[in-house]
Every structure is written in structure tokens, then in C-alpha cells.
């Protein structure tokens, strides 16, 4: 008896609290409101808070600029920033809240593939477009039956794309036949890149000598590096993020491993140079969306504006976040109405959107078609090497 | 008829002999006292009798509900063999009520399975009803029924001692081991305890072994005494003979 009463009371309390706070939120969100609401579902706390916060910094810069220029469709954009705690269930919770309570027209985020997958089902059910600028995993936008997820988009490469590109580059351009792999096995991103490299490289005729792993937040990589060194590879593929890669490259050079190091867009951060220092960063090649050293006016303008606003140089997450916001605004503009359904259609039909990180079109799988740039680090500075059109 | 036989019992901890060369036989229905100075090995002996320690060598054989020897002793099996005990430094279940404490003593007399407990099948009700009735009976005997819903930690000291005995009796033992039952009691309480022990022995048809420092209690109720010193059994016999035994006097008054 008492347990049911407890349950009952608890439920009553719950419902009243939740509906209560909902009622407040829905106040100004009628169709005729003078702002357009965009939800941000990001990792603002928890173990990947860096990526979430960096993406949001880029988004906020872009939206500031848009609002200063008069907004879109004559309305200002209002960002509703909610934290998903770096947890996929919480990301689902936030998605639902943004869609049903805050009545946003679109959701940006989350930063990682896992949390984006968590955020996906509510976005699909509530028919609100959700776009991530860094959820690189292939099945973010396509389900296991190969069917595209109607409301989900991404503006970054698929993991497989970068891995394939690097495998080709290593084999054909650098002409190196024996590779070692070292990847972050707790990161879906690194694992994705690694898998496609592992598939492509041998098919070209290369040989993978050894495959080793590390874990995010580790700081000592000498044991695996020594192991790799003993197999005498000609090149090492290290997909991962700059925090660890910086340390890995530095420690590899200390151990006397001087062979080229290859990686992906996780390398793109001014921190890489700070952590690894100049002397270690030679013969490092990575795939990226753009060259931060690009002198194109929009790149320069973005970098200056970001530095002015945030007091530090932009990294890949910042740039991708910035482009993501501009990309959505562009779609809202083309949709002609702040309506989720129309925005979704506009997003799906994006052609040659020009952003800081290059121009992109959305393909039938809701993935971007965009050029990949290969950069080489020379004395720690990224140098443009080549650009591969898709 | 003998119900406990101890043969050449030794127990050592890391080379130090705590109990050595104990031989004794205890008959059914006796009240037996174990006395000796502090550190004489009495509690160790109790722990050997209840399976908390295994003998280093020698054997202990009970002939109660069935004949068992030290090899098959496990603390939790002792009540099944008909042996229950109390502790020197009262070990009640502090945050449980008086009734619940005694129900734990009754543990092995409950006979229903996990499924029955989860779904409260009829065997659950039958068992719980019977258990509650028997335990209630016991609490009334010990004058604790009025306090059955009191948390045991809130009982006065003397009643905690009594509750511990009641809890042990709930397991329906044949042999009751009491480790310093009168410790911390005043003369009046001790007197009452003496009466109680005598009474329960008759009422429940028990054999009782007790460790005690209070000589008045020991001399009062024990029919036979065993005296320990330095882990050895130095004397045994009826209270009068023990009082006169020079070895015992020496052990108690010191070796000078």
C-alpha cells in the first residue's frame, strides 16, 4: 500500500514540477515570436567538455555576427544552450527538452559521435533537424539498414573519408610501405579513422606492422612507442586529438623515432605546438578541413574575430562550430520560414555553402561533400600541402 | 552421557600457543564453568568450540542432534548442530528491534524458500506466524515483550545481556555457550541472572558452558569447573575442590 502511495505522491510532484517549469519556458515561443530559437545540445561539462565548449565558442561568435548584421529573415537568433554532461542519455534528454519545451527550430550538436547518436532519436521523433559539426562516425546520419536519418545532418567528414585519404597519401605520395598504427581506443572518432586506414592501406599494397592503442587522458606513451619502434615502421598513423598526440609525438621523438607521423583533423589546434614543441613537430602530416594559414579573406577575418572575442587562437572545433552556425543560418534563410520541416529540406539541398573550413554540399546521406586538405607541420607551423576535391 | 568431548586440542597463532593440550568431557545437562585469569585462552577456546577458529591439532566432538567433529565446524553451522553462544562484548544487531534480533536467532527454524519470500506464498505466512509466536513466547519469558519494537541499541545494559541470551535460545540449542554473561552487571542483576540461567536450563533442557570472572555466580550455579592458565587446563572438578586446589590458588594469586 505505502509503496504505491509513495509512487503516486512522487509522480504527482514530478509531473507538477516538470509541467510547471515547462509552462514558463513555452511563454514566448509562438510562431509569431520575434526571435528564432536554436538549441545547443553540447558537452559543457563532463569528460569531453573541451570539445563542447570549443564548438559553442565558435557558434556564439557566428551567431553574434549574424545578429549584428540584422539576423535572419528579419529576426534575431536566440541560442538556447543546454549541457548534456558528456553523456548520451543526457543528450537525449536535452534533445527532447529543446524540441518539446523550448520549441527550437533546429538543434546544433553534440560534439562527439556517441552523444550525437544519443541525441538522435528524440530529434527524429519530434521532427527537429539536428546537425553536428564534429560527429564523424559514419552511422550518425545513416542507420544500420543504410537508410538515411531524415532529420540528422553533419558538416564534418566521415571517419572513413579521412582514413582513406591518409592511407592513399602515405602509400602514393610519401611512398612508404610499412606503417604502424597507434590509436585512442576509447574514442569512437579515432577508432573510425583507424578502421578505414587499416582497410585501405593494405589494399593498396602497404603493410601494417603493428597496431597499438592508448586511452584518452593518458600521458605516458613510451611503452607502446618503444614497442612500435622495435618493428621499424616507415610511418606511424596516429588518429586522435591534439592533447594526447602532442605528447605522443614528443615522446616518440625523444625515443628516437623520427619517421613521419600521420593523423586527422583532431590535430588542428594551436595547443599541439605548445605541447609537442617545435623540434618534435617535423614530418607530421594530417588531414583537415582547411588550412589555418590560408590567406583567404574569410579565414583571416574569422581568425581575427575569434582571437578578439576569446583571447586565443581558433582551433578546429571553433572553426567547425562557427561554420555550423553559419550553415544553419544559411539554410533558415533559404527555407524562408523558421519552420523545422522547411529548414530540414533546405539543409538537405545545400549546395556549395562557403564557410571558413571550405565549401560544402550535402549529399543524399546527409554527409558533407567537401574538399579535404592535407597539411604538413614544418617547425610546428601547418603548411598547405594539397587539397583533394571529393 | 557425554555430549562434548575435547581431545588433545591445540591452537596456535603464528607460533604462539593460545590453547594447548586440552582434554575434557562434558555430560548432558551439566552447567560447566570455565575460569582463569585474563589471557588464559578461554575465549579462544570458545571460538574453537564455535568454529570461528580451526584447531591446529586435536579434535572437538559434539554428540547433540548428530555427532560432528571439528572438521565440519563452520560458525554458521553451529546452531544446526545445536550449539548457540553469546559474546563477551555484546554483539547485538544494534539497529534492529528486540523482536528482530530474536527472529535472527530463530533463523534456521524458518523453512521457506526464496521464491516464497519474494511472492509471500502461504508457506511464508505459516512460517512467519509460527516463528513470531515462538519468539513472542521467548520474549515474554525474558520480560522483553513490552520492548519488542525498541531498537536493541536503546536497551539498558542488563537487558542487552538478556536479549543476547534470548536470541541464542531462539535457535533452539542443546548446548549454550555464555561468554561472561555477568560482565558489567551489579550484584542484584547478577543474582537475577543466576536465577534465570538456572531456570532456562531446566525449562529448555540445556547443557550450559560459561566463561565467567564473577566467582559468586560461578560457585553458585556451576556443577563442574575447568580452570585455564596460559592456555592449559590446570584443574577441573566441583566448585569446592577447585577452591582448595593449590594450582588454582597459585594461578590466581600469582606465581611468587
Amino acid at each position: 500500500m505505502k509503496k504505491t502511495m509513495t509512487l503516486f505522491m512522487a509522480l504527482a510532484l514530478m509531473v507538477s514540477v516538470l509541467t510547471g517549469c515547462g509552462a514558463k519556458d513555452t511563454g514566448g515561443s509562438g510562431k509569431e515570436s520575434d526571435t528564432i530559437k536554436i538549441g545547443l545540445n553540447y558537452e559543457l561539462s563532463g569528460n569531453v567538455a573541451t570539445y563542447g565548449q570549443s564548438s559553442v565558442a565558435g557558434i556564439e561568435l557566428a551567431i553574434d555576427e549574424v545578429n549584428k548584421d540584422g539576423g535572419v529573415l528579419g529576426k534575431q537568433i536566440e541560442l538556447i544552450k543546454v549541457d548534456n554532461k558528456s553523456d548520451s542519455a543526457e543528450a537525449a534528454n536535452v534533445s527532447t527538452r529543446l524540441a518539446t519545451r523550448d520549441k527550437v527550430v533546429a538543434i546544433l550538436g553534440p560534439a562527439t559521435s556517441g552523444n550525437t547518436k544519443g541525441a538522435t532519436p528524440p530529434a527524429m521523433q519530434n521532427k527537429v533537424p539536428l546537425i553536428s559539426s564534429s560527429a564523424t562516425d559514419d552511422d550518425v546520419t545513416v542507420d544500420s539498414n543504410g537508410k538515411v536519418r531524415e532529420y540528422i545532418f553533419k558538416t564534418c567528414f566521415n571517419d572513413s573519408f579521412q582514413g582513406v585519404t591518409m592511407a592513399n597519401f602515405a602509400f602514393n605520395d610519401l611512398k612508404l610501405k610499412n606503417a604502424a598504427i597507434l590509436f585512442d581506443n576509447t574514442s569512437d572518432y579515432a577508432k573510425g579513422l583507424m578502421n578505414s586506414f587499416k582497410k585501405t592501406y593494405p589494399s593498396l599494397g602497404g603493410k601494417i606492422l603493428v597496431e597499438e592503442t592508448y586511452q584518452a587522458k593518458e600521458t605516458d606513451f613510451k611503452a607502446v612507442l618503444t614497442k612500435i619502434k622495435s618493428t621499424n615502421p616507415e610511418v606511424i598513423y596516429i588518429p586522435g586529438y591534439y592533447e594526447e598526440v602532442g605528447l605522443i609525438v614528443k615522446q616518440a621523438r625523444e625515443l628516437g623515432i623520427e619517421v613521419p607521423v600521420l593523423g586527422g583533423d583532431g590535430y588542428d589546434s594551436p595547443k599541439l605546438l605548445e605541447i609537442a614543441n617545435k623540434d618534435s613537430l617535423h614530418d607530421v602530416y594530417y588531414t583537415n578541413h582547411y588550412s589555418p594559414m590560408d590567406t583567404a579573406p574569410e579565414v583571416v577575418a574569422f581568425k581575427e574575430a575569434f582571437l578578439a572575442k576569446n583571447g586565443k587562437d581558433a582551433d578546429a572545433f571553433n572553426a567547425l562550430g562557427y561554420d555550423l552556425a553559419k550553415f544553419l543560418v544559411d539554410a533558415i534563410d533559404r527555407a524562408g520560414e523558421a519552420n523545422s520541416e522547411k529548414i530540414k529540406d533546405a539543409l538537405a539541398s545545400t549546395k556549395d555553402f562557403k564557410g571558413v573550413t571550405g565549401s560544402l554540399s550535402i549529399d543524399e546521406n546527409h554527409n558533407p561533400v567537401k574538399a579535404v586538405t592535407i597539411l604538413e607541420l614544418v617547425d610546428g607551423e601547418p603548411k598547405f600541402l594539397k587539397k583533394l576535391e571529393p | 552421557m557425554d555430549m562434548l568431548v575435547v581431545n588433545n586440542l591445540y591452537k596456535s597463532f603464528g607460533g604462539v600457543k593460545a590453547v594447548s593440550d586440552i582434554n575434557m568431557t562434558i555430560d548432558e545437562g551439566e552447567i560447566v564453568g570455565i575460569i582463569g585469569p585474563n589471557g588464559a585462552g578461554k575465549t579462544t577456546f570458545f571460538n574453537l568450540l564455535t568454529g570461528i577458529y580451526n584447531p591446529s591439532s586435536g579434535d572437538i566432538v559434539y554428540k547433540l542432534k548428530e555427532e560432528v567433529s571439528a572438521k565440519s565446524f563452520k560458525p554458521f553451522k553451529m546452531t544446526k548442530y545445536g550449539v548457540a553462544r553469546t559474546f563477551q562484548n555484546i554483539r547485538l544487531f544494534k539497529d534492529m528491534t528486540v523482536l528482530e534480533n530474536v527472529l535472527i536467532g530463530y533463523h534456521n527454524n524458518f523453512k521457506y524458500g526464496i521464491l516464497s519470500s519474494i511472492f509471500h506464498l502461504s508457506s511464508y505466512f505459516k512460517n512467519e506466524k509460527k516463528g513470531n509466536e515462538e519468539v513472542t513466547q521467548l520474549l515474554k519469558i525474558f520480560d522483553l515483550y513490552d520492548k519488542k519494537d525498541t531498537l536493541s541499541k536503546n536497551l539498558p545494559y542488563g537487558e542487552q545481556r538478556k536479549l543476547e541470551i534470548a536470541r541464542a535460545l531462539a535457535s533452539k540449542p542443546k548446548l549454550l555457550l555464555l561468554d561472561e554473561p555477568a560482565a558489567g552487571m551489579n550484584a542484584n542483576e547478577t543474582k537475577e541472572l543466576t536465577k534465570l540461567i538456572n531456570w532456562i536450563r531446566k525449562e529448555f533442557d540445556l547443557t550450559i558452558i560459561l566463561i565467567e570472572h564473577d566467582m559468586s555466580l560461578v560457585m553458585d550455579i556451576c556443577e563442574k569447573l575447568f580452570v585455564f592458565d596460559y592456555g592449559r587446563l590446570i584443574a577441573q572438578g566441583n566448585p569446592e575442590s577447585i577452591q582448595k586446589n593449590p594450582k588454582v590458588i597459585k594461578a590466581y594469586l600469582g606465581g611468587e
Binding site: N47, K217, T219, A223, S230 | -
Partner: protein
């Protein structure tokens, strides 16, 4: 070539182990005296690194002044944490104590994240960047590692001296054995526990600065994994035993390196935890601990 790899891996193991050992020292000491798993220890280590970072980057202090100052600041922080957080729960249950320690740990991690952003920061290079070649092979040892090992061993000896030879240390041991009795003997319990925390936290602070310069990258969550590993190391060596922590640190470092070098880097941490469980089961008082039986 094979020989060289083995030598290099031994060097790697020792150098990793020295870091675990350094952090484990403070962990084991606090546990030894007040029987509290101070989950916040790893975070004090993180704060030590940030203090070192601030002192060297903004005040341009050298290595040793930064190390000493950071130890002092961490000691003060440790005492504050003890007074504010642990003192009120000193007589609570173990579970309350453990959750309080977790809450302090979260508070420090996310407080730092709030004030200083979650970004990784780079520690200025304070010590000479030099590699020593061993036995004329290609195996190398980072000179900074020599510093860490020397500091770890000296701190261990110093701690042993403090605990066994000084009045403060004797008071600590007395409190650890029987708090009530110690109090009856006129030992100031509060002061002794404060001392314990001050010393333990100072050790964490030292570790923070040393490891900061060694890896030159710090972030607010940097204390979590090393903290956990250091705890494992402390348990392996026998928690509460100072030389045990150092032994456990090296043991864990060398074990992890061995597993990685045998190609098991995927399961390196799993093996570390499996060893932890095995040690707890087979030798609950650690390799250097004595077995004690519960009194009935």
C-alpha cells in the same frame, strides 16, 4: 636490438612507476593515519600542477621556488579541505566518508574547470630537456625522470624519518593506532590530522609540479586517472605503509609497461585492476603489509 628494447622498456616502466609512486606516497599516508580514502588526493595533485603552472608562467619563478611554493599552497589547501569537509564527517560511516571524499574531488575538478576552462594548458619547460643514453645503446632516459626518481626516493626517506623519528610522526602513528587512547595521552588529534593532511597534500603538490614539467601538459581532470592508479599502487604495496607505496608504484609502472610491450596495451588498465582485486583477495594488507586477524 631486442636487448635494447628490453632496457628501454625497463626504463619506461621505472619512469612511469616513479610518478605513480610519488602520488601514492601522499595517498597512503592519509589513509594510514585517518583511514580515509582521500579521492581528492589526485585533484590536489592537479591543483599543485596548476599552481606550479601559474607561478612559472606568470611570475616567472624557477623550478625549485615553484616546487616549494606549490607544496606550501597545497599543504594549506589540504588543511582547509580537512577542516571544512572531512572534520564534520570524522565520526560518520565509511560510506559517508567515501562519498564526501568523492564530492570534494568533484568540487575541485569542476571548480577548476569553471574558473580556468577545461582546456589543456602547457607547462613551461623548467628542467633541461636532455636524454641520457644508457649503456651506449639507443635506449634513452629522460633527465627529468632522474629528478622524479630522486625526489620520490628522498621524499620517501624523509617521510619515514618524520613518521618514525619525530614527535609529529609519533603522534600520527598513535592516532592511527587508536584515536581515543592517543587523545587520552594528551595528543592533539585535530592538530595531528591537520599535519597529516598538510604533509600528504604537500606531497601531492610536489608531484603536480614534477609531473607538470615532465609531460608539460595539464588539465583539470589530469588527477583522475593517476589518482586511481596511485591508489591501486598504494593498495598493492600495502596501504598505509610508506615504502609500500613506492614499491607499489614501481610495481604497477613496470607491470603496465610489460603488458604494453607484450602487445596487451588494450587491456593494460584491466590488468592493473585485476591485480588490484587479486591483491585485495590474497594479500589484503599488500605485499609489504602484515596480516592481522579480526578480533572476535
Amino acid at each position: 636490438m631486442i636487448m635494447e628494447e628490453i632496457i628501454q622498456q625497463i626504463v619506461n616502466g621505472v619512469s612511469l612507476g616513479s610518478i605513480y609512486a610519488l602520488i601514492a606516497l601522499g595517498y597512503t599516508m592519509v589513509y594510514g593515519i585517518i583511514k580515509l580514502i582521500n579521492f581528492a588526493h589526485g585533484d590536489i595533485y592537479m591543483i599543485g600542477a596548476y599552481v606550479g603552472f601559474a607561478l612559472t608562467t606568470f611570475l616567472k619563478l624557477g623550478f625549485f621556488p615553484a616546487l616549494i611554493l606549490s607544496m606550501v599552497i597545497c599543504a594549506i589547501l589540504g588543511v582547509i579541505i580537512e577542516k571544512v569537509a572531512y572534520k564534520p564527517i570524522r565520526n560518520s560511516t565509511r560510506i559517508a566518508a567515501l562519498i564526501t571524499a568523492i564530492s570534494v574531488s568533484l568540487f575541485l575538478e569542476y571548480g577548476m574547470m569553471y574558473f580556468f576552462k577545461p582546456d589543456t594548458r602547457t607547462f613551461p619547460s623548467l628542467l633541461p630537456d636532455k636524454q641520457i643514453k644508457i649503456f651506449n645503446t639507443d635506449a634513452v632516459l629522460d633527465i627529468k625522470n632522474v629528478y622524479i626518481i630522486v625526489v620520490t626516493i628522498s621524499l620517501m626517506l624523509l617521510l619515514q624519518y618524520v613518521i618514525h623519528r619525530t614527535k609529529v610522526g609519533k603522534a600520527m602513528r598513535a592516532v592511527s593506532l587508536d584515536r581515543d587512547a592517543a587523545q587520552l595521552m594528551g595528543i592533539d588529534i585535530n592538530k595531528t590530522i591537520s599535519n597529516t593532511f598538510a604533509i600528504g597534500s604537500a606531497l601531492a603538490g610536489a608531484a603536480g609540479v614534477l609531473v607538470g614539467t615532465y609531460y608539460n601538459s595539464i588539465n583539470p581532470l589530469m588527477g583522475v586517472v593517476p589518482g586511481l592508479k596511485a591508489f591501486v599502487a598504494a593498495v598493492i604495496g600495502g596501504i598505509g605503509i610508506i615504502p609500500g607505496a613506492v614499491f607499489g608504484g614501481f610495481f604497477l609502472g613496470i607491470t603496465e609497461t610489460t603488458i604494453s610491450s607484450l602487445g596487451g596495451s588494450l587491456y593494460k588498465d584491466a590488468v592493473a585492476f585485476a591485480i588490484l582485486i587479486l591483491v585485495l583477495l590474497l594479500k589484503p594488507n599488500g605485499f609489504l603489509g602484515k596480516d592481522v586477524k579480526e578480533k572476535v
